[in-house]
């Protein structure tokens, strides 16, 4: 992990030991052992507007060994032990693999993977580290990249440098690896365009939009994964280029995809600092666009309305930006949503010829 807070692997392992010792000594004192970790939820984050990300506020969760928590308590300890093992052997386990390893633990095994993922997140937060540092890697794909970018990677066998030219994938694309810390970049692009749907990404790749606009295209495929977020952050920070985010005009696109990319999530607040992209700007479909372009729409569903209310009420990022509040209220009043693909109403390439150039030129149409 980069930056001042990066910890060495051996540090993580001794930190795990420290927590275990704490539990052990409590037991020897005949007191109920506890595990303490920051509360992982939106209610426990503050929007740090200076650095532009969600950071943890002080609330912590104490897990005391009781009837209700005995199982999770045991599971977290076993998971910590697994992590320590991985670190010491310099090995890794995917989240899925970790879940299967737990099947050896008899009654303490995890029933479903979300349970083991959650235990993993708890340990992450407890240690204030990234799960890769615990030896766990995600299963999910990072995202896809095309355009004016050369990624410098290493051959896993020889250690020789590999230069990957993202212009040379034809109609395909470069896949962001699960771990991106070692990557370096070469680019003269003017901006990064992060796109919500693979369909829109395909259209822009096919028509070589990246050439026309001199940019790098990234397909997020819904809410961006940690690797994807870290990749975009690193790229934009190293090369000092802005990031434009192109999503659907709906509360999910605003509140989940864009917000998570820009400032991080409540669930992983302890690592948001490294996984946010403060340099991101929203150029997706705004309520204003729906009206101006007369886009075909769908009515808002109950869940959409609930999401808007929730964002307005609980999300520190939205609350910080009057423009976002206004936009969301407007969408709620319009009672509709519009997809990226709705621009095709004005011709399949309207998005390339009109929408994006106009949007990027006119800062006033963006949202913060």
């Amino acid at each position: 992990m980069p930056g001042k807070k990066k910890r060495k692997k051996s540090d993580v392992s001794s930190e795990i030991k420290k927590v275990a010792k704490g539990v052990y000594s409590k037991i020897l004192k005949k007191k109920q052992p506890e595990l303490e970790s920051p509360l992982r939820s939106l209610s426990n984050v503050e929007y740090n507007s200076d650095d532009g990300y969600f950071e943890l506020s002080g609330k912590t969760k104490k897990r005391t060994l009781t009837a209700a928590s005995a199982k999770t308590f045991a599971q977290i300890l076993r998971m910590m032990s697994l992590s320590k093992n991985l670190i010491e052997k310099d090995d890794i386990a995917s989240k899925r693999e970790a879940y299967y390893i737990s099947k050896n633990w008899d009654e303490a095994r995890f029933k479903e993977q979300p349970e083991s993922d959650s235990a993993m997140d708890d340990i992450e937060a407890m240690m204030m580290v990234n799960r890769e540092q615990l030896g766990f890697i995600p299963e999910e794909k990072g995202g896809e990249v095309a355009g004016k970018l050369k990624v410098i990677d290493k051959d896993p066998d020889t250690g020789k440098q590999l230069k990957i030219d993202c212009t040379k994938f034809g109609s395909g694309a470069y896949s962001i690896p699960i771990s991106v810390e070692h990557l370096k970049f070469e680019t003269k692009a003017k901006f990064v365009l992060a796109i919500e749907t693979a369909g829109m990404f395909q259209r822009l790749v096919k028509h070589k939009y990246w050439k026309k606009a001199n940019c790098i295209l990234v397909s997020m495929g819904g809410v961006p994964t940690r690797a994807c977020r870290r990749f975009i952050r690193k790229l934009s920070e190293d090369k000092k280029i802005p990031v434009y985010v192109f999503t659907d005009g709906d509360p999910y696109g605003y509140g989940s995809i864009y917000r998570t990319l820009k400032v991080g999530s409540g669930n992983a607040a302890h690592i948001n600092e490294f996984f946010c992209v403060p340099n991101a700007h929203f150029i997706g479909i705004t309520p204003q666009d729906i009206e101006e372009y007369k886009l075909p729409t769908h009515p808002l569903k109950d869940v959409d309305i609930k999401k808007i209310k929730d964002l307005l009420k609980n999300d520190p990022f939205i609350q910080h930006h009057a423009k976002w509040k206004k936009a969301l209220k407007k969408l709620k009043a319009m009672k509709v949503r519009a997809e990226q693909q709705a621009l095709a109403k004005h011709g399949l390439n309207f998005v390339i010829s009109d929408y994006l150039p106009k949007k990027i030129k006119n800062r006033k149409t963006w949202l913060p």
């Binding site: 795990i16 030991k17 275990a20 010792k21 539990v23 052990y24 037991i27 020897l28 005949k30 007191k31 109920q32 060994l65 009781t66 009837a67 005995a70 199982k71 308590f73 045991a74 599971q75 300890l77 076993r78 910590m80 032990s81 320590k84 093992n85 633990w105 008899d106 009654e107 303490a108």
Partner: protein, 598 residues
């Protein structure tokens, strides 16, 4: 038939009016009295002999009821020996029967020579009691004459009521097998036993003596009945076995030794050594008497005035009340009863309704008693919790009655499905028509959820529970002559509900406590399941020694115990279910016991 003939007569009359003799004379030749026995021959379902299975049960039931009534009247603790022998052709069964007999019957093991292997569904019911016996002269009438008995005319709590039961069983046997009923009875150690073979002359409803002799019987007193009949033996649901078990619950003072057709022996020992309190005979209560009966009573009374008639022939009518009734009925109190007109009788009945009269006396009822009922449940049902209550007497239509209820919860009872309901009337189990019975209705309408049992709306509660309801009365209102279900009088329904609610309240505290204990136990087990895992994880994390890991686990257990309190009171309180008493033993058990006693 009669109707059809009636029509015929009319048409003939109008068309052949010139015929010499009126056709009515012809018809008159065919018109004659129908004997009760003949009537029954054709309507056997009215008395519970609808099908072979039910017939076998009814026969046993009538015989047991009679034996118990006789014993109790004579103040003898009843001991009943019942044997059902399969007379059908199956050879392997026959073998077992013989085996069973050698085990069971101690004296006079007369091997049934007349077993003819060609009949199916044929059984012999042999029942022997230690009752007072029957005087020689009465034996034929009691067993071979329908509607002959001592109970019909009295207002007193009895098992039987009409005096139709045992003779009906004898008649049924005679009709289906052609065999006479065989009776042996002895009234004292000094006099000889009398043996009779009897048939019923169905036309005259009179006994027909086939054989009569004096025999040796080394028993002080008692009666033995043998009836051959067509029947079907089945276990489960409405079986003889079930009937006997329930009888044992409601009659904890009775000992029953029973050998089934498979020669399996069951012993239902007595749990209390005292006879139930003797019930007194009472005069009718004015409110229970309808017009017809009133007219009849006016006719046969020995009283000289209506006022004194009311005073002397009814319960709870003093001279003041009698005067009041006469006043309300506008009948002069000095009227001679024999001269009272129909209208007067009707006015008296109405006058009674207008007059305030005390409830009937209740010493005519002898309930089982809460304590004895609980003992009965304890010896026959393996449960964890027992409760029983006896309500105070109440009245329906001038008839006093008492409701008793009991519950047995948990233990070896089936935790799935509906709870069992056992219904009793004057200590006799009711096995048929549960749906049409006031007991079932009342239990279904009671909210058992508030007592910790689950229950879907308007149906019986669920769970490992047996609910017992007993109605004791001088006149139990059945819905039909076969005495299978209790009629829905509001007063009775109300009392049943109050009784089961009282049991329910007792049950609920137990069920709640048990549920809490089970939940706590589960929680503890849950914690203790994961303690070793915490130990393992710490051992791995901190490279602890096995010794240290053990220490961690021990300490964790202590810590949690400190937090939750010791697990000491949590043992489920095992019932005072008496294994010995409930030796509802199979043959082996019974044999063992016999050997020990020898």
């Amino acid at each position: 038939m009669a109707k059809k003939k009636g029509k015929k007569r009319q048409t003939k009359k109008s068309t052949n009016s010139n015929k010499k003799r009126p056709i009515a004379h012809e018809l008159a030749k065919k018109q004659r009295e129908i004997s009760v026995a003949e009537f029954f021959e054709k309507n056997r379902h009215l008395l519970g002999f609808d099908n072979p299975k039910k017939a076998l049960l009814t026969t046993v039931k009538e015989a047991v009821d009679n034996a118990l009534d006789a014993c109790e009247e004579a103040k003898i603790l009843p001991e009943i020996n019942l044997q059902i022998v399969d007379l059908s052709s199956k050879p392997e069964v026959k073998k077992e029967v013989e085996e069973g007999q050698t085990v069971l019957v101690t004296e006079e093991t007369e091997k049934p020579e007349d077993i003819k292997p060609k009949y199916e569904d044929r059984y012999r019911v042999i029942i022997e009691d230690n009752g007072p016996g029957i005087v020689k002269k009465q034996i034929p009438n009691i067993f071979a004459k329908l509607l002959y008995g001592s109970k019909f005319h009295t207002l007193k709590q009895n098992r039987g009521q009409q005096g139709i039961g045992i003779s009906a069983a004898a008649l049924y046997g005679q009709l289906t097998t052609g065999k006479p009923v065989r009776i042996t009875s002895k009234i004292s150690p000094k006099s000889p036993a009398h043996y009779y073979e009897l048939k019923i002359d169905t036309q005259k409803n009179k006994p027909e003596i086939i054989k009569e002799k004096k025999v040796e019987w080394n028993k002080e007193h008692g009666t033995k009945i043998e009836i051959d009949l067509e029947g079907k033996y089945q276990s489960g649901g409405k079986s003889v076995d079930r009937y006997l078990k329930q009888t044992a619950i409601a009659n904890p003072h009775v000992t029953i030794i029973y050998a089934s057709p498979q020669a399996k022996q069951m012993v239902f020992p007595s749990a209390v050594k005292e006879l139930p309190e003797e019930s007194k005979e009472i005069k009718p209560h004015p409110l229970g008497v309808e017009l017809g009966r009133m007219i009849k009573m006016l006719n046969i009374t020995k009283a000289r005035t209506v006022a004194s008639f009311l005073h002397s022939d009814f319960s709870r009518v003093g001279s003041g009340t009698a005067k009041k009734i006469c006043e309300n009925a506008s009948v002069p109190p000095k009227t001679k009863p024999k001269k009272a007109t129909r209208e007067m009788a009707e006015r008296i009945v109405h006058g009674i309704k207008k007059t305030r009269i005390m409830n009937p006396p209740t010493n005519c009822i002898s309930p089982i008693g809460a304590e004895a009922l609980e003992k009965g449940l304890k010896k026959e049902i393996k449960a964890e919790f027992y409760a029983a209550v006896t309500r105070s007497p109440a009245v329906y239509r001038g008839n006093p009655f008492v409701i008793e209820a009991g519950v047995a919860y948990g233990g070896e009872q089936n935790p799935e499905g509906k709870s069992k309901v056992l219904r009793f009337a004057n200590r006799v189990p009711l096995l048929y028509q549960p749906g049409g019975c006031a007991v079932t209705q009342s239990i279904s309408e009671t909210n058992w959820r508030s007592y910790g049992l689950s229950q879907s709306r308007g149906s019986l509660p669920q769970g490992p529970c047996t609910i017992v309801v007993h109605i004791a009365s001088v006149w139990v209102p059945f819905t039909s002559e076969s005495k299978e279900a209790i009629a829905h009088y509001p007063e009775i329904v109300k009392e049943i509900k109050l009784a089961v609610q009282e049991c329910g309240r007792k049950l609920s505290s137990y069920v709640r406590k048990k549920k809490k204990i089970v939940a706590e136990k589960k929680k503890r087990d849950y914690i203790e399941t994961y303690i070793p895992h915490i130990g393992d994880a710490l051992k791995e994390l901190l490279s602890l020694k096995v010794k240290d890991k053990k220490k961690v686990e021990k300490l964790l257990k202590k810590i949690l115990e400190k937090k939750r309190g010791k697990l000491k009171n949590i043992k489920v309180h095992k019932a005072d279910f008496d294994e010995n008493l409930a030796l509802e033993g199979d043959k082996k058990n019974a044999r063992k016991k016999e050997k020990k006693e020898e």
